[in-house]
């Protein structure tokens, strides 16, 4: 199973994580710590109700850039493997947008790598959000929140 998944349809983040972990590690007991972040679409942003969202990306560069982040995380911390999944296309509130996950022997490396992946993804992965508001008007999100 690939370390980077770009999905056009809704997914259950926990099923996807379980599937990756099982495919990657089976019954291996080499990792002791797993850190996971999931980002979920809220129905509220900058004071407005958001009905839906369209996520545009740069196919090809997206996958390459996310793989670069995983390679960098592995070089910085003692992580065994990482996983990133990201939605694109039409997204509704309460649907999962992003997963970042890291498996390591020890928890500090797992936490650091997981956090690094989501922070760097928000900073450098070529995704763009367009929100549809209550009155059906649309607007591009112009910057990500600091955290």
């Amino acid at each position: 199973m690939k370390n980077v998944i770009i999905r056009e349809s809704a997914y259950d983040p926990w099923l996807l994580l379980g599937k990756f972990q099982h495919a990657r590690f089976g019954d291996s007991a080499e990792y002791g710590a797993t850190a996971v972040f999931t980002g979920t679409m809220r129905d509220f942003n900058e004071g407005d109700t958001v009905r839906a969202m369209t996520l545009e990306h740069y196919p090809g560069m997206t996958e390459a850039q996310l793989q670069r982040l995983i390679d960098e995380a592995k070089s910085r911390w003692e992580v065994i493997d990482c996983f990133i999944a990201h939605r694109v296309g039409q997204i509704n509130p309460a649907e999962t947008i992003v997963i970042t996950a890291a498996w390591s022997a020890h928890r500090n490396a797992a936490f650091e790598a997981c956090r690094y992946l989501i922070e760097e993804l928000k900073h450098s992965a070529p995704f763009w959000k367009k929100e549809r508001l209550a009155d059906d008007s649309e607007r591009w999100v112009t910057q990500n929140t600091a955290g």
């Binding site: 980002g39 996520l55 545009e56 990306h57 740069y58 090809g60 560069m61 390459a64 850039q65 990201h86 947008i97 992003v98 989501i118 993804l121 928000k122 900073h123 450098s124 992965a125 070529p126 995704f127 763009w128 959000k129 367009k130 591009w140 999100v141 112009t142 910057q143 990500n144």
Partner: protein
């Protein structure tokens, strides 16, 4: 030929998604933009990728390259 791609709000503002230009001698990404956009400057916050890796506006582009311009990213 050099392929130029535009994404997100920049794509909408320019009303174009992709175009091709002839390389004119030694060109930078900025030269490619100006050549494709009547000599105008790109927005201050524009991001540039050459062959799907981030690059600066003064990076060299060559025949066969794909140059992309886009606004700050907002994924995650």
């Amino acid at each position: 030929m050099i392929t130029i791609r535009y994404f997100a709000s920049l794509r909408e503002q320019l009303g174009k998604e992709q175009e091709r230009i002839e390389p004119a001698g030694a060109m930078t990404a900025l030269d490619a933009w100006k050549s494709a956009n009547d000599g105008r400057m790109p927005p201050d916050n524009v991001l540039v990728a050459i062959n799907q890796s981030y690059a600066s506006l003064d990076a060299a582009v060559n025949a066969g390259d794909e140059v992309a311009f886009f606004p700050p990213v907002t994924g995650g």
